[in-house]
Symmetry: D2
Subunit: 150 residues, 4 copies
Protein backbone atom coordinates (compact mmCIF):
# COMPACT_ATOMS: atom_id res chain seq x y z
CA UNK A 1 0.00 0.00 0.00
CA UNK A 2 1.32 3.40 -0.97
CA UNK A 3 0.78 6.52 1.05
CA UNK A 4 0.17 10.15 0.26
CA UNK A 5 3.44 12.09 0.01
CA UNK A 6 4.45 14.62 2.61
CA UNK A 7 3.85 18.30 2.05
CA UNK A 8 6.93 20.53 2.02
CA UNK A 9 7.50 24.09 3.18
CA UNK A 10 10.83 25.84 2.74
CA UNK A 11 11.82 29.28 3.95
CA UNK A 12 13.76 30.03 0.78
CA UNK A 13 15.49 33.16 2.04
CA UNK A 14 17.13 31.13 4.79
CA UNK A 15 18.76 28.71 2.38
CA UNK A 16 22.22 29.63 1.23
CA UNK A 17 23.25 29.89 -2.40
CA UNK A 18 25.62 27.34 -3.91
CA UNK A 19 27.61 27.56 -7.13
CA UNK A 20 25.74 25.91 -9.97
CA UNK A 21 27.63 23.19 -11.84
CA UNK A 22 30.50 25.06 -13.55
CA UNK A 23 30.24 22.97 -16.72
CA UNK A 24 26.71 24.26 -17.22
CA UNK A 25 27.20 28.03 -16.78
CA UNK A 26 29.59 30.95 -16.97
CA UNK A 27 29.75 34.07 -14.87
CA UNK A 28 29.11 32.70 -11.41
CA UNK A 29 25.52 31.49 -11.47
CA UNK A 30 24.41 30.19 -8.08
CA UNK A 31 21.42 28.04 -7.21
CA UNK A 32 19.17 26.60 -4.53
CA UNK A 33 17.41 23.28 -5.03
CA UNK A 34 13.90 23.68 -3.67
CA UNK A 35 12.25 20.39 -4.53
CA UNK A 36 12.59 17.10 -6.36
CA UNK A 37 9.76 14.80 -7.42
CA UNK A 38 11.36 11.40 -8.02
CA UNK A 39 8.26 9.74 -9.41
CA UNK A 40 7.53 12.01 -12.37
CA UNK A 41 11.09 13.31 -12.43
CA UNK A 42 10.51 17.02 -11.87
CA UNK A 43 12.74 19.41 -9.93
CA UNK A 44 12.45 23.02 -8.84
CA UNK A 45 15.33 25.42 -8.64
CA UNK A 46 16.07 29.03 -7.76
CA UNK A 47 18.90 30.71 -9.68
CA UNK A 48 20.93 33.83 -8.92
CA UNK A 49 22.71 35.10 -12.02
CA UNK A 50 25.21 37.97 -12.12
CA UNK A 51 25.01 40.45 -14.97
CA UNK A 52 26.42 38.88 -18.12
CA UNK A 53 26.30 35.31 -16.86
CA UNK A 54 25.17 32.60 -19.26
CA UNK A 55 23.83 29.08 -19.25
CA UNK A 56 25.53 26.56 -21.49
CA UNK A 57 23.49 25.46 -24.51
CA UNK A 58 20.83 23.01 -23.43
CA UNK A 59 17.56 21.34 -24.34
CA UNK A 60 14.57 21.00 -22.02
CA UNK A 61 13.37 17.43 -22.49
CA UNK A 62 10.20 18.18 -20.55
CA UNK A 63 8.23 21.35 -19.88
CA UNK A 64 9.59 24.07 -17.61
CA UNK A 65 7.72 26.82 -15.80
CA UNK A 66 9.27 29.75 -14.06
CA UNK A 67 9.03 33.18 -12.55
CA UNK A 68 11.55 35.98 -12.79
CA UNK A 69 11.82 37.85 -9.49
CA UNK A 70 14.27 40.38 -10.85
CA UNK A 71 16.51 40.97 -13.82
CA UNK A 72 16.35 40.03 -17.47
CA UNK A 73 17.00 36.85 -19.46
CA UNK A 74 17.75 36.79 -23.16
CA UNK A 75 16.56 33.39 -24.36
CA UNK A 76 17.65 32.11 -27.77
CA UNK A 77 19.66 35.29 -28.09
CA UNK A 78 16.88 37.62 -26.92
CA UNK A 79 14.01 39.27 -28.76
CA UNK A 80 16.26 41.46 -30.91
CA UNK A 81 17.47 38.34 -32.78
CA UNK A 82 14.18 36.44 -32.87
CA UNK A 83 14.43 34.84 -29.45
CA UNK A 84 12.62 35.98 -26.33
CA UNK A 85 13.51 38.38 -23.55
CA UNK A 86 11.97 37.54 -20.21
CA UNK A 87 11.92 40.30 -17.62
CA UNK A 88 11.37 41.03 -13.95
CA UNK A 89 7.92 40.01 -12.72
CA UNK A 90 7.58 37.73 -15.70
CA UNK A 91 6.20 34.22 -15.99
CA UNK A 92 7.72 31.83 -18.48
CA UNK A 93 6.71 28.47 -19.89
CA UNK A 94 9.23 26.50 -21.92
CA UNK A 95 7.69 23.64 -23.86
CA UNK A 96 9.15 20.14 -23.88
CA UNK A 97 11.87 20.14 -26.50
CA UNK A 98 12.82 23.80 -26.12
CA UNK A 99 16.34 24.35 -27.42
CA UNK A 100 18.23 27.07 -25.59
CA UNK A 101 21.51 27.62 -27.35
CA UNK A 102 22.07 31.18 -26.16
CA UNK A 103 20.84 32.20 -22.69
CA UNK A 104 22.30 35.38 -21.25
CA UNK A 105 21.31 37.27 -18.14
CA UNK A 106 21.80 40.89 -19.16
CA UNK A 107 21.15 42.16 -15.64
CA UNK A 108 21.52 40.67 -12.19
CA UNK A 109 18.72 38.11 -12.27
CA UNK A 110 16.88 35.85 -9.88
CA UNK A 111 14.39 33.35 -11.18
CA UNK A 112 12.69 30.13 -10.18
CA UNK A 113 12.23 27.20 -12.55
CA UNK A 114 10.29 23.97 -12.26
CA UNK A 115 11.46 21.42 -14.80
CA UNK A 116 9.91 18.08 -15.68
CA UNK A 117 12.49 15.54 -16.73
CA UNK A 118 16.12 16.19 -17.55
CA UNK A 119 17.85 19.12 -19.12
CA UNK A 120 20.31 17.91 -21.75
CA UNK A 121 23.39 20.09 -21.52
CA UNK A 122 25.17 20.22 -24.85
CA UNK A 123 28.86 19.59 -24.61
CA UNK A 124 31.39 21.01 -27.05
CA UNK A 125 31.71 17.63 -28.79
CA UNK A 126 27.99 17.56 -29.63
CA UNK A 127 26.98 15.08 -26.96
CA UNK A 128 24.39 15.75 -24.27
CA UNK A 129 24.96 15.47 -20.56
CA UNK A 130 21.61 14.94 -18.88
CA UNK A 131 20.78 16.60 -15.57
CA UNK A 132 17.54 15.55 -13.96
CA UNK A 133 16.13 15.39 -10.45
CA UNK A 134 18.66 12.79 -9.32
CA UNK A 135 21.76 14.56 -10.62
CA UNK A 136 20.47 17.84 -9.22
CA UNK A 137 19.83 16.32 -5.82
CA UNK A 138 23.23 14.67 -5.76
CA UNK A 139 25.02 17.92 -6.57
CA UNK A 140 22.97 19.81 -4.00
CA UNK A 141 23.53 17.27 -1.27
CA UNK A 142 27.26 17.27 -1.88
CA UNK A 143 27.24 21.04 -1.63
CA UNK A 144 25.04 21.31 1.45
CA UNK A 145 25.98 18.07 3.19
CA UNK A 146 24.50 18.09 6.68
CA UNK A 147 23.19 21.62 6.41
CA UNK A 148 20.36 21.04 4.00
CA UNK A 149 16.97 22.25 5.25
CA UNK A 150 14.15 19.80 4.95
CA UNK B 1 2.14 14.56 -36.73
CA UNK B 2 2.25 16.55 -33.53
CA UNK B 3 4.39 19.60 -33.00
CA UNK B 4 6.30 21.08 -30.12
CA UNK B 5 4.17 23.46 -28.09
CA UNK B 6 4.78 27.18 -28.12
CA UNK B 7 6.76 28.82 -25.36
CA UNK B 8 4.95 31.48 -23.32
CA UNK B 9 6.15 34.68 -21.69
CA UNK B 10 3.86 36.87 -19.64
CA UNK B 11 4.62 40.20 -18.04
CA UNK B 12 2.65 39.37 -14.91
CA UNK B 13 2.64 42.86 -13.43
CA UNK B 14 0.82 44.13 -16.52
CA UNK B 15 -2.08 41.72 -16.09
CA UNK B 16 -5.00 43.01 -14.06
CA UNK B 17 -6.42 41.13 -11.07
CA UNK B 18 -9.87 39.56 -11.28
CA UNK B 19 -12.10 38.39 -8.44
CA UNK B 20 -11.62 34.69 -7.81
CA UNK B 21 -14.77 32.56 -7.94
CA UNK B 22 -16.84 33.79 -4.95
CA UNK B 23 -18.03 30.28 -4.08
CA UNK B 24 -14.44 29.26 -3.47
CA UNK B 25 -13.21 32.08 -1.20
CA UNK B 26 -14.15 34.76 1.29
CA UNK B 27 -12.62 38.14 1.89
CA UNK B 28 -12.04 39.33 -1.65
CA UNK B 29 -9.35 37.04 -3.04
CA UNK B 30 -8.31 38.05 -6.55
CA UNK B 31 -6.40 36.04 -9.14
CA UNK B 32 -4.53 36.01 -12.41
CA UNK B 33 -4.46 32.89 -14.57
CA UNK B 34 -0.90 32.55 -15.89
CA UNK B 35 -0.97 29.26 -17.73
CA UNK B 36 -2.98 26.16 -18.55
CA UNK B 37 -1.61 22.84 -19.78
CA UNK B 38 -4.57 21.04 -21.36
CA UNK B 39 -2.75 17.78 -21.99
CA UNK B 40 -1.65 16.90 -18.46
CA UNK B 41 -4.29 19.15 -16.93
CA UNK B 42 -2.12 21.57 -14.96
CA UNK B 43 -2.77 25.27 -14.39
CA UNK B 44 -0.80 28.09 -12.83
CA UNK B 45 -2.32 30.92 -10.88
CA UNK B 46 -1.32 34.05 -8.98
CA UNK B 47 -3.46 34.98 -5.99
CA UNK B 48 -3.83 38.26 -4.11
CA UNK B 49 -5.43 37.73 -0.72
CA UNK B 50 -6.47 40.49 1.71
CA UNK B 51 -5.73 40.04 5.39
CA UNK B 52 -8.18 37.56 6.87
CA UNK B 53 -9.37 36.16 3.57
CA UNK B 54 -9.92 32.40 3.30
CA UNK B 55 -10.19 29.67 0.72
CA UNK B 56 -13.17 27.33 0.96
CA UNK B 57 -12.33 23.79 2.06
CA UNK B 58 -10.79 21.87 -0.81
CA UNK B 59 -8.74 18.87 -1.83
CA UNK B 60 -5.81 18.96 -4.25
CA UNK B 61 -6.32 15.94 -6.49
CA UNK B 62 -2.84 16.37 -7.95
CA UNK B 63 0.36 17.95 -6.66
CA UNK B 64 0.67 21.72 -6.24
CA UNK B 65 3.81 23.83 -6.06
CA UNK B 66 3.96 27.44 -5.10
CA UNK B 67 5.88 30.46 -3.96
CA UNK B 68 4.77 33.09 -1.47
CA UNK B 69 5.87 36.55 -2.58
CA UNK B 70 4.53 38.23 0.50
CA UNK B 71 2.27 37.57 3.46
CA UNK B 72 1.36 34.48 5.43
CA UNK B 73 -0.88 31.47 4.87
CA UNK B 74 -2.22 29.28 7.64
CA UNK B 75 -2.79 25.89 6.05
CA UNK B 76 -4.90 23.28 7.86
CA UNK B 77 -5.41 25.87 10.58
CA UNK B 78 -1.75 26.91 10.78
CA UNK B 79 1.18 25.52 12.71
CA UNK B 80 -0.28 26.38 16.11
CA UNK B 81 -2.99 23.72 15.60
CA UNK B 82 -0.88 21.11 13.86
CA UNK B 83 -1.17 22.49 10.35
CA UNK B 84 1.46 24.51 8.52
CA UNK B 85 2.16 28.21 8.25
CA UNK B 86 3.77 29.29 5.01
CA UNK B 87 5.40 32.68 4.97
CA UNK B 88 6.85 35.36 2.69
CA UNK B 89 9.70 34.09 0.53
CA UNK B 90 8.55 30.55 1.12
CA UNK B 91 8.24 27.62 -1.25
CA UNK B 92 5.44 25.12 -0.78
CA UNK B 93 4.69 21.69 -2.16
CA UNK B 94 1.27 20.18 -1.58
CA UNK B 95 1.10 16.48 -2.33
CA UNK B 96 -1.67 14.94 -4.41
CA UNK B 97 -4.55 14.32 -2.06
CA UNK B 98 -3.79 17.23 0.28
CA UNK B 99 -6.92 18.18 2.21
CA UNK B 100 -7.14 21.87 3.03
CA UNK B 101 -10.14 22.40 5.22
CA UNK B 102 -8.94 25.63 6.82
CA UNK B 103 -6.82 28.04 4.79
CA UNK B 104 -6.54 31.59 6.10
CA UNK B 105 -4.31 34.41 4.94
CA UNK B 106 -3.41 36.16 8.18
CA UNK B 107 -1.68 39.01 6.36
CA UNK B 108 -2.06 40.54 2.91
CA UNK B 109 -0.65 37.75 0.80
CA UNK B 110 0.46 37.17 -2.77
CA UNK B 111 1.39 33.71 -3.91
CA UNK B 112 1.74 31.69 -7.07
CA UNK B 113 0.51 28.11 -7.39
CA UNK B 114 0.94 25.50 -10.08
CA UNK B 115 -1.61 22.73 -9.74
CA UNK B 116 -1.79 19.43 -11.61
CA UNK B 117 -5.35 18.26 -12.10
CA UNK B 118 -8.44 19.63 -10.43
CA UNK B 119 -9.03 21.11 -7.05
CA UNK B 120 -12.18 19.65 -5.52
CA UNK B 121 -13.98 22.43 -3.70
CA UNK B 122 -16.07 21.03 -0.88
CA UNK B 123 -19.59 22.36 -0.83
CA UNK B 124 -21.65 22.66 2.32
CA UNK B 125 -23.65 19.55 1.40
CA UNK B 126 -20.53 17.39 1.30
CA UNK B 127 -20.22 17.22 -2.46
CA UNK B 128 -17.16 18.34 -4.41
CA UNK B 129 -17.15 20.88 -7.22
CA UNK B 130 -14.08 20.26 -9.37
CA UNK B 131 -12.08 23.16 -10.79
CA UNK B 132 -9.35 22.23 -13.22
CA UNK B 133 -7.56 23.87 -16.10
CA UNK B 134 -10.71 24.07 -18.23
CA UNK B 135 -12.95 25.59 -15.57
CA UNK B 136 -10.18 28.01 -14.61
CA UNK B 137 -9.65 29.08 -18.22
CA UNK B 138 -13.37 29.51 -18.76
CA UNK B 139 -13.74 31.73 -15.70
CA UNK B 140 -10.69 33.76 -16.67
CA UNK B 141 -11.78 34.24 -20.24
CA UNK B 142 -15.20 35.39 -19.16
CA UNK B 143 -13.56 37.89 -16.83
CA UNK B 144 -10.94 39.16 -19.26
CA UNK B 145 -12.81 38.74 -22.53
CA UNK B 146 -10.88 40.51 -25.26
CA UNK B 147 -8.30 41.97 -22.92
CA UNK B 148 -6.40 38.83 -22.04
CA UNK B 149 -2.67 39.00 -22.78
CA UNK B 150 -1.29 36.12 -24.74
CA UNK C 1 17.19 13.13 0.43
CA UNK C 2 14.75 11.36 -1.80
CA UNK C 3 15.43 8.06 -3.49
CA UNK C 4 14.52 6.49 -6.79
CA UNK C 5 11.25 4.60 -6.61
CA UNK C 6 11.11 0.84 -6.79
CA UNK C 7 10.32 -0.91 -10.03
CA UNK C 8 7.21 -3.12 -10.06
CA UNK C 9 6.43 -6.36 -11.85
CA UNK C 10 3.05 -8.03 -11.58
CA UNK C 11 1.97 -11.33 -13.03
CA UNK C 12 -1.46 -10.02 -13.96
CA UNK C 13 -3.04 -13.36 -14.79
CA UNK C 14 -2.38 -14.53 -11.25
CA UNK C 15 -4.33 -11.68 -9.69
CA UNK C 16 -7.99 -12.33 -9.05
CA UNK C 17 -10.77 -10.10 -10.30
CA UNK C 18 -12.81 -8.03 -7.86
CA UNK C 19 -16.16 -6.35 -8.41
CA UNK C 20 -15.69 -2.74 -9.44
CA UNK C 21 -17.48 -0.16 -7.28
CA UNK C 22 -21.21 -0.86 -7.90
CA UNK C 23 -22.10 2.85 -7.92
CA UNK C 24 -19.84 3.33 -10.92
CA UNK C 25 -21.00 0.51 -13.22
CA UNK C 26 -23.81 -1.83 -14.18
CA UNK C 27 -23.68 -5.37 -15.46
CA UNK C 28 -20.99 -6.86 -13.26
CA UNK C 29 -17.78 -5.10 -14.28
CA UNK C 30 -14.75 -6.47 -12.41
CA UNK C 31 -11.32 -4.95 -12.04
CA UNK C 32 -7.70 -5.42 -10.99
CA UNK C 33 -5.69 -2.50 -9.70
CA UNK C 34 -2.22 -2.80 -11.24
CA UNK C 35 -0.47 0.35 -10.08
CA UNK C 36 -0.84 3.66 -8.29
CA UNK C 37 1.51 6.64 -8.57
CA UNK C 38 0.81 8.78 -5.49
CA UNK C 39 3.02 11.66 -6.54
CA UNK C 40 1.48 12.57 -9.89
CA UNK C 41 -1.78 10.88 -8.99
CA UNK C 42 -2.01 8.28 -11.75
CA UNK C 43 -3.43 4.78 -11.48
CA UNK C 44 -3.57 1.78 -13.78
CA UNK C 45 -6.46 -0.64 -13.93
CA UNK C 46 -7.55 -3.77 -15.79
CA UNK C 47 -11.27 -4.17 -16.38
CA UNK C 48 -13.35 -7.23 -17.26
CA UNK C 49 -16.74 -6.24 -18.61
CA UNK C 50 -19.59 -8.65 -19.46
CA UNK C 51 -21.57 -8.08 -22.64
CA UNK C 52 -23.93 -5.16 -22.15
CA UNK C 53 -22.25 -3.81 -19.04
CA UNK C 54 -21.87 -0.04 -18.70
CA UNK C 55 -19.83 2.53 -16.84
CA UNK C 56 -21.73 5.31 -15.08
CA UNK C 57 -21.36 8.75 -16.69
CA UNK C 58 -17.98 10.21 -15.82
CA UNK C 59 -15.38 12.78 -16.71
CA UNK C 60 -11.65 12.09 -17.01
CA UNK C 61 -9.99 15.01 -15.25
CA UNK C 62 -6.59 13.96 -16.59
CA UNK C 63 -5.49 11.99 -19.64
CA UNK C 64 -6.13 8.25 -19.91
CA UNK C 65 -4.39 5.70 -22.09
CA UNK C 66 -5.50 2.17 -22.65
CA UNK C 67 -5.44 -1.03 -24.62
CA UNK C 68 -8.35 -3.30 -25.46
CA UNK C 69 -7.34 -6.93 -25.21
CA UNK C 70 -10.69 -8.21 -26.38
CA UNK C 71 -14.22 -7.01 -26.96
CA UNK C 72 -15.75 -3.70 -27.94
CA UNK C 73 -16.48 -0.42 -26.18
CA UNK C 74 -18.99 2.12 -27.36
CA UNK C 75 -17.76 5.45 -26.04
CA UNK C 76 -20.09 8.45 -26.05
CA UNK C 77 -22.74 6.15 -27.48
CA UNK C 78 -20.46 4.58 -30.08
CA UNK C 79 -19.54 5.62 -33.59
CA UNK C 80 -23.05 5.22 -34.97
CA UNK C 81 -24.19 8.22 -32.89
CA UNK C 82 -21.09 10.37 -33.26
CA UNK C 83 -19.06 8.83 -30.46
CA UNK C 84 -16.28 6.29 -30.87
CA UNK C 85 -16.19 2.53 -30.91
CA UNK C 86 -12.97 1.02 -29.63
CA UNK C 87 -12.32 -2.59 -30.52
CA UNK C 88 -10.14 -5.59 -29.74
CA UNK C 89 -6.44 -4.94 -30.25
CA UNK C 90 -7.11 -1.21 -30.10
CA UNK C 91 -5.22 1.57 -28.37
CA UNK C 92 -7.13 4.49 -26.92
CA UNK C 93 -6.16 7.91 -25.62
CA UNK C 94 -8.73 9.96 -23.77
CA UNK C 95 -7.74 13.59 -23.35
CA UNK C 96 -8.00 15.41 -20.03
CA UNK C 97 -11.57 16.62 -19.76
CA UNK C 98 -13.11 13.78 -21.77
CA UNK C 99 -16.79 13.44 -20.91
CA UNK C 100 -18.08 9.89 -21.11
CA UNK C 101 -21.80 9.96 -20.56
CA UNK C 102 -22.58 6.70 -22.34
CA UNK C 103 -20.04 3.86 -22.20
CA UNK C 104 -21.32 0.41 -23.11
CA UNK C 105 -19.39 -2.79 -23.64
CA UNK C 106 -21.27 -4.45 -26.47
CA UNK C 107 -19.24 -7.65 -26.19
CA UNK C 108 -17.35 -9.31 -23.38
CA UNK C 109 -14.45 -6.92 -23.02
CA UNK C 110 -11.10 -6.75 -21.28
CA UNK C 111 -9.12 -3.54 -21.33
CA UNK C 112 -6.36 -1.80 -19.43
CA UNK C 113 -6.45 1.90 -18.59
CA UNK C 114 -3.87 4.24 -17.11
CA UNK C 115 -5.46 7.39 -15.77
CA UNK C 116 -3.78 10.55 -14.52
CA UNK C 117 -5.77 12.24 -11.78
CA UNK C 118 -9.29 11.45 -10.71
CA UNK C 119 -12.29 10.31 -12.64
CA UNK C 120 -15.33 12.35 -11.62
CA UNK C 121 -18.29 9.97 -11.51
CA UNK C 122 -21.51 11.85 -12.15
CA UNK C 123 -24.21 11.09 -9.66
CA UNK C 124 -27.91 11.30 -10.46
CA UNK C 125 -28.19 14.62 -8.61
CA UNK C 126 -25.59 16.26 -10.86
CA UNK C 127 -22.72 16.16 -8.38
CA UNK C 128 -19.41 14.46 -9.04
CA UNK C 129 -17.85 11.79 -6.90
CA UNK C 130 -14.10 11.78 -7.51
CA UNK C 131 -12.15 8.52 -7.70
CA UNK C 132 -8.41 8.87 -7.92
CA UNK C 133 -5.39 6.78 -7.00
CA UNK C 134 -6.15 6.94 -3.27
CA UNK C 135 -9.80 5.96 -3.54
CA UNK C 136 -8.91 3.20 -5.98
CA UNK C 137 -6.21 1.84 -3.71
CA UNK C 138 -8.48 1.96 -0.69
CA UNK C 139 -11.22 0.02 -2.48
CA UNK C 140 -8.73 -2.52 -3.80
CA UNK C 141 -7.07 -3.06 -0.46
CA UNK C 142 -10.40 -3.60 1.23
CA UNK C 143 -11.26 -6.14 -1.42
CA UNK C 144 -7.94 -7.99 -1.46
CA UNK C 145 -6.89 -7.52 2.15
CA UNK C 146 -3.91 -9.75 2.83
CA UNK C 147 -3.95 -11.40 -0.56
CA UNK C 148 -2.71 -8.56 -2.71
CA UNK C 149 0.45 -9.37 -4.68
CA UNK C 150 3.20 -6.81 -4.51
CA UNK D 1 -7.59 30.15 -25.28
CA UNK D 2 -6.52 26.55 -25.28
CA UNK D 3 -8.79 23.67 -26.17
CA UNK D 4 -9.21 20.12 -24.95
CA UNK D 5 -7.05 17.71 -26.92
CA UNK D 6 -8.55 15.22 -29.33
CA UNK D 7 -9.14 11.65 -28.28
CA UNK D 8 -7.32 8.97 -30.27
CA UNK D 9 -8.28 5.44 -31.25
CA UNK D 10 -5.92 3.17 -33.14
CA UNK D 11 -6.58 -0.30 -34.47
CA UNK D 12 -3.14 -1.54 -33.50
CA UNK D 13 -3.28 -4.81 -35.40
CA UNK D 14 -3.75 -2.89 -38.65
CA UNK D 15 -0.55 -0.90 -38.21
CA UNK D 16 2.54 -2.42 -39.76
CA UNK D 17 5.75 -3.06 -37.83
CA UNK D 18 8.85 -0.99 -38.59
CA UNK D 19 12.45 -1.73 -37.65
CA UNK D 20 13.38 0.01 -34.42
CA UNK D 21 16.41 2.28 -34.57
CA UNK D 22 19.34 -0.12 -35.23
CA UNK D 23 21.68 1.77 -32.91
CA UNK D 24 19.36 1.02 -30.02
CA UNK D 25 18.81 -2.74 -30.44
CA UNK D 26 20.15 -6.00 -31.77
CA UNK D 27 18.34 -8.97 -33.18
CA UNK D 28 15.70 -7.29 -35.30
CA UNK D 29 13.40 -5.55 -32.85
CA UNK D 30 10.46 -3.89 -34.57
CA UNK D 31 8.09 -1.26 -33.26
CA UNK D 32 4.87 0.67 -33.69
CA UNK D 33 4.50 4.18 -32.34
CA UNK D 34 1.02 4.41 -30.83
CA UNK D 35 0.99 7.86 -29.27
CA UNK D 36 3.02 10.94 -28.42
CA UNK D 37 2.12 13.58 -25.83
CA UNK D 38 4.18 16.66 -26.76
CA UNK D 39 3.23 18.68 -23.70
CA UNK D 40 4.41 16.35 -20.93
CA UNK D 41 6.76 14.53 -23.28
CA UNK D 42 5.39 11.00 -23.04
CA UNK D 43 5.23 8.43 -25.82
CA UNK D 44 3.71 4.98 -26.16
CA UNK D 45 5.23 2.18 -28.17
CA UNK D 46 4.58 -1.43 -29.08
CA UNK D 47 7.63 -3.65 -29.56
CA UNK D 48 8.03 -6.98 -31.32
CA UNK D 49 11.25 -8.72 -30.27
CA UNK D 50 12.62 -11.94 -31.75
CA UNK D 51 14.08 -14.54 -29.41
CA UNK D 52 17.49 -13.39 -28.23
CA UNK D 53 17.10 -9.79 -29.29
CA UNK D 54 18.41 -7.09 -26.96
CA UNK D 55 18.00 -3.41 -26.25
CA UNK D 56 21.16 -1.32 -26.00
CA UNK D 57 21.99 -0.11 -22.48
CA UNK D 58 19.74 2.79 -21.55
CA UNK D 59 18.35 4.87 -18.75
CA UNK D 60 14.69 5.81 -18.35
CA UNK D 61 14.72 9.48 -17.39
CA UNK D 62 11.03 9.36 -16.53
CA UNK D 63 8.70 6.58 -15.44
CA UNK D 64 7.67 3.82 -17.84
CA UNK D 65 4.66 1.53 -17.66
CA UNK D 66 4.07 -1.49 -19.79
CA UNK D 67 2.32 -4.74 -20.48
CA UNK D 68 3.81 -7.92 -21.88
CA UNK D 69 1.44 -9.59 -24.31
CA UNK D 70 3.70 -12.54 -24.89
CA UNK D 71 7.24 -13.68 -24.29
CA UNK D 72 9.82 -12.93 -21.63
CA UNK D 73 12.15 -10.03 -20.86
CA UNK D 74 15.26 -10.33 -18.74
CA UNK D 75 15.80 -6.87 -17.27
CA UNK D 76 19.12 -6.00 -15.68
CA UNK D 77 20.28 -9.47 -16.63
CA UNK D 78 17.16 -11.23 -15.39
CA UNK D 79 16.16 -12.53 -11.98
CA UNK D 80 18.88 -15.17 -11.86
CA UNK D 81 21.51 -12.42 -11.57
CA UNK D 82 19.60 -10.02 -9.35
CA UNK D 83 17.61 -8.28 -12.04
CA UNK D 84 14.00 -8.92 -12.95
CA UNK D 85 12.32 -11.25 -15.41
CA UNK D 86 9.04 -9.99 -16.78
CA UNK D 87 6.78 -12.53 -18.42
CA UNK D 88 3.73 -12.94 -20.62
CA UNK D 89 0.60 -11.33 -19.16
CA UNK D 90 2.80 -9.22 -16.93
CA UNK D 91 2.57 -5.56 -15.99
CA UNK D 92 5.75 -3.59 -15.42
CA UNK D 93 6.55 -0.20 -13.92
CA UNK D 94 10.02 1.22 -14.35
CA UNK D 95 10.74 4.15 -12.08
CA UNK D 96 12.31 7.38 -13.31
CA UNK D 97 16.05 6.80 -13.32
CA UNK D 98 15.88 3.07 -14.02
CA UNK D 99 19.17 1.89 -15.51
CA UNK D 100 18.80 -0.97 -17.95
CA UNK D 101 22.23 -2.13 -18.94
CA UNK D 102 21.27 -5.64 -19.97
CA UNK D 103 17.83 -6.24 -21.51
CA UNK D 104 17.34 -9.51 -23.37
CA UNK D 105 14.19 -11.04 -24.78
CA UNK D 106 14.69 -14.74 -24.15
CA UNK D 107 11.59 -15.66 -26.12
CA UNK D 108 9.67 -14.03 -28.96
CA UNK D 109 8.16 -11.09 -27.12
CA UNK D 110 5.55 -8.42 -27.67
CA UNK D 111 5.11 -5.64 -25.18
CA UNK D 112 3.72 -2.15 -24.91
CA UNK D 113 5.50 0.65 -23.09
CA UNK D 114 4.42 4.16 -22.16
CA UNK D 115 7.41 6.33 -21.31
CA UNK D 116 7.45 9.82 -19.83
CA UNK D 117 10.40 11.86 -21.04
CA UNK D 118 13.41 10.60 -22.93
CA UNK D 119 15.27 7.35 -22.83
CA UNK D 120 19.00 8.00 -22.73
CA UNK D 121 20.68 5.39 -24.91
CA UNK D 122 24.22 4.77 -23.74
CA UNK D 123 26.74 4.83 -26.51
CA UNK D 124 29.98 2.88 -26.44
CA UNK D 125 31.95 6.04 -25.61
CA UNK D 126 29.93 6.64 -22.45
CA UNK D 127 27.76 9.43 -23.82
CA UNK D 128 23.97 9.33 -23.90
CA UNK D 129 21.82 9.77 -26.97
CA UNK D 130 18.39 10.90 -25.89
CA UNK D 131 15.24 9.60 -27.57
CA UNK D 132 12.00 11.23 -26.54
CA UNK D 133 8.59 11.82 -28.07
CA UNK D 134 9.99 14.07 -30.81
CA UNK D 135 12.79 11.77 -31.90
CA UNK D 136 10.41 8.81 -31.80
CA UNK D 137 7.82 10.62 -33.89
CA UNK D 138 10.42 11.74 -36.40
CA UNK D 139 11.74 8.21 -36.86
CA UNK D 140 8.23 6.81 -37.17
CA UNK D 141 7.11 9.40 -39.67
CA UNK D 142 10.14 8.79 -41.82
CA UNK D 143 9.38 5.09 -41.73
CA UNK D 144 5.66 5.33 -42.38
CA UNK D 145 5.56 8.49 -44.48
CA UNK D 146 2.11 8.86 -45.98
CA UNK D 147 0.89 5.54 -44.68
CA UNK D 148 0.59 6.35 -41.00
CA UNK D 149 -2.88 5.87 -39.58
CA UNK D 150 -4.19 8.80 -37.60
Amino acid sequence: MKIKLADEYLQVDQIGWETFEPDFQTGGIRWKLLHVSPEIGSWTVMFHCPTGSTFAPHIHHGPAEGYIFKGEIEIRGGEQVGGATARENGYLYEAAGAIHDRTTMTRETEFMLQMVGPVGWKMADGTQRPQGWAEAQQLWNEQKSELRPV
